[in-house]
């Protein structure tokens, strides 16, 4: 089959541009069919290099099948499908095209066997996701999309530099496990980490995603950070520097989400928290930890997509995004509230949900490696997930005080997408075998033991108790929270404005002395040599005749003498 030799992501990327040409049922069929076709193609690609080409003396492998890549490509395809159902009736064609290009290039990364192919898809992803944000059509979305693009262009430059240095020193463009022993690999790591939302540049996630449209944020929540998790998993498994970075992200997400008022921004901070668990697991690097990371990425995309769908449904119906304006919506949006709550208990890793069978592997791996502090922090962070996302999000949006809003239930297609993902959250939790079968290493882990059930119920329910006991301290405020983005949203522009205001006169002052001396010299020259200077004066004909007369007279006298 000719098509099986091509990268499966190309189907989404190329097919996306047909969307604006179609209308009605044909368009629906295309929008829903493309992700399914992509999923089918993902599973036709066997392990190993399927397509090879030479480019500038380097061997490119645009299609290379692997277990981890297939797992990520599978969940990316499922996410595109559910996102397409969710966006089907409401999203602009521009947003759908951009989202599919974005999703297709993320799938392209998971099959890239070399760094050059990886880089090309990486950059298409940055452009596609920027347009997804921009497609919301508001001024704040436009500004956020430009800040987002700048961060990702910076990440792309770091990655490009790293790839060039790495390829230059090793002579090979192959993408595989790397050692952190050269400038090139450090820069590659930095490029990957920027997309993962690692410090100091974590703020782009919470800055940009909540500015997208309801469906745009659903797509955005899935691909960029998880593609970064995939590349870190392949290239830097066991790199111990990732453990503190991941722990920082897990705790950062909790604290910022606790302080946040915007419902979808709470979920965006929660992405950093969840990716933090994954980055920590990659740093631990044992087979159990890496299985846990892959499983958790899979489960996370589904329940985080579901949470963004629920928040998006509320935004779509009420036009409101702040917890201070919301509350009590379970009365008229019961299905959205129910599906959102399923997503919330899944992210909290409640037993019989997908989070329970995936995240616990990472915690267990830390225990087996005797990483005491890591284990205690991860366990605290697990309790904190329930606190900041598991209860806080559904509580402030769907319950708490009655906001007086009585919006209609989310549109049918949005409900269908949420029902599909809510089903998957519970299905994978009750029956994890299909997920475990996709993991990169053989699974010996057994999630359902009496000890694990008891300890998880204790941890989460007492975290819940803490939430309701501390509720008076968690009253929502109409605030935002400063982050490192302050450096480029406030500090940088202020420095530039100050330099313009005070720097320009100071600079002029500094230059005035030499400039005056220079002007004096030029002025002097001008006075003597300028158009009116004595040396440039045009001589009157009379004086010329006079001087000719004098010369002729002198000549005559000389001749007579």
């Amino acid at each position: 089959m000719a098509i099986s030799g091509l990268p499966p992501g190309l189907v989404l990327i190329v097919g996306a541009f047909l969307i604006p040409a179609l209308r009605g049922r044909a368009r629906d069929a295309l929008v829903l069919g493309l992700p399914l076709l992509t999923l089918a193609l993902v599973w036709t690609i066997p392990d190993g290099v399927q397509l090879q080409a030479d480019f500038l003396g380097y061997s490119l492998e645009p299609v290379r099948g692997s277990t981890v890549g297939r797992l990520f490509a599978t969940v990316f395809s499922i996410m595109s499908f559910a996102g397409a159902i969710y966006a089907l009736r409401q999203a602009r064609a521009l947003e759908l095209v951009a989202a599919f290009v974005y999703a297709g290039s993320a799938i392209g990364v998971t099959f890239a066997g070399d760094l050059i192919t990886l880089f090309v898809f990486w950059e298409i992803m940055a452009l596609g996701s920027t347009v997804v944000i921009w497609a919301a059509g508001t001024e704040s979305a436009y500004q956020a999309s430009m800040r987002y693009l700048l961060v990702h262009l910076l990440g792309g430059v770091l990655l490009m530099f790293g790839i060039a240095a790495h390829v230059g020193s090793t002579g090979s463009a192959a993408f595989g496990p790397m050692e952190l022993n050269s400038i090139g690999t450090w820069f590659i790591l930095a490029g990957f980490l920027i997309n993962a939302g690692a410090p100091p540049l974590s703020a782009w996630i919470a800055d940009a995603y909540p500015e997208a449209s309801p469906s745009g944020a659903v797509f955005l929540s899935a691909f960029t950070t998880k593609t970064a998790v995939y590349t870190l998993l392949v290239a830097f498994a066991g790199a111990s520097i990732l453990v503190p970075i991941g722990l920082y992200m897990a705790l950062y997400g909790i604290f910022y989400a606790l302080m946040e008022n915007d419902a979808r921004r709470i979920l965006a901070y929660s992405i950093v928290n969840q990716v933090g668990f994954m980055v920590t697991g990659i740093g631990i690097g044992t087979t159990l930890a890496l299985n846990g990371v892959a499983a958790h990425a899979f489960a996370h995309i589904i329940y985080k997509g579901l949470l963004f769908m629920a928040a998006g449904g509320v935004l779509f119906r009420t036009g409101k995004r702040l917890c201070t304006d919301l509350g009590g919506l379970f009365r008229t949006m019961p299905w959205t509230a129910l599906f959102g709550t399923v997503g919330a208990i899944a992210i909290s890793s409640f037993p019989f949900t997908s989070g329970f069978v995936s995240k616990s592997m990472i915690n267990q791996a830390a225990a087996y490696e005797n990483m005491v502090i890591v284990w205690f922090l991860l366990t605290a962070a697990s309790a904190g997930v329930f606190l900041h996302a598991g209860i806080k999000f559904p509580w402030f949006v769907f319950f708490q005080k009655d906001s007086g809003l009585r919006p209609p239930e989310s549109p049918r297609n949005m409900q269908a997408a949420m029902a599909f993902f809510a089903f998957l959250c519970i299905f994978l939790g009750v029956y994890p075998a299909p997920l475990y079968a996709m993991l990169p290493y053989p699974v010996e882990y057994v999630p359902y033991t009496v000890e694990h059930l008891v300890s998880q119920f204790q941890l989460l329910l007492f975290a819940g108790l803490a939430f309701f006991v501390m509720l008076p301290m968690m009253r929502r405020t109409t605030t935002l929270t400063l982050d490192w983005d302050w450096s480029y949203r406030r500090f940088g522009p202020r420095v530039a404005a100050t330099l313009t205001a005070y720097g320009a006169p100071a600079w002029n002052q500094l230059l005035s002395a030499p400039r005056n001396r220079f002007r004096a010299v030029v002025g002097g020259l001008f006075r003597t040599h300028g158009p009116h200077g004595p040396l440039a004066r045009s001589w009157p004909i009379g004086s010329m005749v006079f001087w000719v007369g004098v010369m002729l007279g002198a000549y005559l006298i000389l001749a007579l003498v």
Partner: protein, 87 residues
């Protein structure tokens, strides 16, 4: 739909004070139930402390209280009005 007078409607059964009292009683009963098995079930001991009685219960509670308090204190330092960036 948004315009109808919600103050005239009777409270939803889920938010009536009686229901909330029952929910609290059920919740506390479940909390106790989760700690009871610690008399018989022994957690795998990796570091010692997590095998002590009710470890996950008090650890979950205390860390969450601590996180809320820290977030509150951090808020005094880095929270700004949401018009800070000039929206």
């Amino acid at each position: 739909m948004n315009q109808r007078d919600v103050r005239a409607e009777p409270d939803h059964w889920l938010v009536r004070p009686g229901t909330i009292r029952i929910l609290w009683i059920v919740f506390i009963a479940i909390l106790i139930l989760t700690v009871v098995p610690d008399f018989v079930v022994h957690q795998h001991e990796e570091f010692g402390i997590e095998a002590t009685f009710g470890f996950y219960a008090w650890y979950g509670f205390i860390t969450c209280v601590a996180m809320v308090v820290i977030a509150k204190l951090l808020g005094f330092l880095i929270k700004r009005k949401d018009t800070y960036y000039g929206d």
